[in-house]
Symmetry: C2
């Protein structure tokens, strides 16, 4: 049973509206006059982190990837539950140190969870409260612009540094090991956007998913995708470098659709929060993803990102 077949089975079970068909970053549950935003993401050793990644950074990443889902829904974190298999004493001690740092940095209360004995499959549940409207992936409309926060590709390049495929570049490694969660940005954007999600599996695949969920087509301008100076220094520019960045994933930036008449507000918000917000594409009638480079359509790369979910 492939992951997608399994998820298809789960989807049929997840008929409650709060589940959003398992097509969104988080569940959105109305209860007692408030709107909860709920997410659970796992990190598996050897899959989502490397066995010799510093345990402190693994703890950070576990917290950040979950909070990134809350950020994408404009939610304020209320707390987290940790699922932790105990193993090596030194590793576990370093993990808890890193966890302390991440909880403090994100002002995230640890509320509970479970510890077991077993292989290193870490889980975190983050519980958030909507700060206002909760954007979904389904709201993009033809004519909306597609935007992305920050820079894309750094984390993927950081992983390549760790694998020895690229020369030393500490700033990129840091982006791979200790991603941000754009909480303040997500809350501020929520009232301005028509759809929002975080970029976890790759910009192209995630944008394609937003378009599919919104029953629209999306066109992305490769040359508009924001790259960092560190990325340009380590990887260079050009079509291949940009496609690498747009398919690598692990960015945990916010990807959002906004009506053209929101452009000024979006840009002003980016300036106020000192976070680059870049228009990279356009939604249109139809379906699917179109990639262009300086206006010329490109064949889509065979791999758009991590295929699951």
């Amino acid at each position: 049973m492939t992951e997608s077949a399994f998820i298809e089975c789960l989807r049929r079970l997840a008929s409650h509206p709060a589940a959003r068909g398992l097509l969104d970053d988080a569940a959105v549950l109305e209860v007692g006059g408030t709107t909860l935003v709920l997410t659970h993401d796992m990190l598996v050793e050897g899959v989502h982190f490397l066995p010799d990644d510093p345990p402190q950074d693994v703890a950070w990443k576990l917290v950040a990837v979950n909070l990134s889902d809350l950020a994408a829904k404009g939610a304020r974190p209320l707390g987290a539950l940790l699922g932790f298999p105990l193993g090596d004493e030194a590793w576990d001690r370093s993990f808890v140190e890193g966890l302390a740092g991440a909880l403090a940095a994100f002002h995230l209360p640890l509320l509970g969870g479970d510890t077991v004995t077993g292989p290193r499959v870490l889980g975190l549940t983050a519980i958030g409260e909507a700060s206002g409207p909760v954007p979904s992936r389904t709201g993009a409309r033809p004519g909306d612009r597609l935007w992305v926060s920050g820079a894309i590709g750094d984390a993927g390049a950081g992983l390549r540094v760790l694998k020895g495929e690229l020369g030393p570049a500490p700033a990129l490694v840091e982006r791979y090991r200790t991603p941000r969660a754009r909480l303040a940005l997500g809350q501020a954007l929520a009232p301005l956007v028509s759809a929002m999600m975080d970029v976890s599996d790759g910009l192209l695949i995630d944008a394609k998913r937003m378009a599919a969920a919104s029953a629209a087509a999306v066109e992305i301008a490769l040359e508009a995708i924001p790259l960092s100076d560190a990325y340009l220094a380590a990887v260079g520019d050009g079509r291949a470098a940009r496609i690498d960045a747009a398919t690598a994933g692990d960015d945990y930036e916010l990807l959002f659709a906004a009506r053209p008449d929101r452009t000024r507000d979006v840009l002003a918000l980016g300036e106020r929060l000192a976070i680059p917000l870049t228009p990279i594409g356009l939604f249109a009638d139809g379906a699917g993803l179109v990639l262009t480079d300086d206006g010329e359509p490109l064949p889509l790369p065979p791999r758009l990102g991590w295929e699951h979910g």
Copy 2:
């Protein structure tokens, strides 16, 4: 780093009142005029279930052990998030079938979660809403009676059947593989009790924890502990059989303290719900656990149950 040392570190991090010092079955979070009850329990293959346990039953158990924590807090389930590592196709397919059955049986909406590739470490987060007052483990007072629902020891004996240590006894195996979650009972008991928890690690160790959390002593009458006919048939009666039952764990019955003047209400509730509710002990001034057999103090067995948490 032992599990208890690790949890001690987590405890220092979990300073938010909703975490209840990580000493309770669940977190209890006030938000937007409602009281959420949140729990996350994991099952690890080879630790919490056997590799050849039917996957359908593993799914049931994953749901039930989490809902048992909600039951102990008198909460009504609102939904669940699943953390599932994909592995073997046939196993995963059977698991999702079992999950469908468990979700339906408990009227539990599946709201979201994560699927990954990795070893079989399963996690579930259950989100509940308080149906009224939320009992803690800390409220037992000297003079309160200690009660337990149902029968104790069946699941532990079922595990011994599966290990070949006892002859065939399908009813006991069923109690091991597909525990109940006493949701309706928990909600009905919540206003009547001074403290409540579920019996997961063993009756004696769990009662000792309730007494410690309540800063009281507790005395348990071994001969009063309710055993099922199936248990008596498979294991027999007597001091050793009763100590086995009281230390085996995995019962997922409710253990609660109630003032003596609640006795009639508690008994009436048990009759109404057709669930045996049995007084098995008494809280007193002091600290620690005392075990008696027909009024005579017994030395405590070296192992009171599963040591963690």
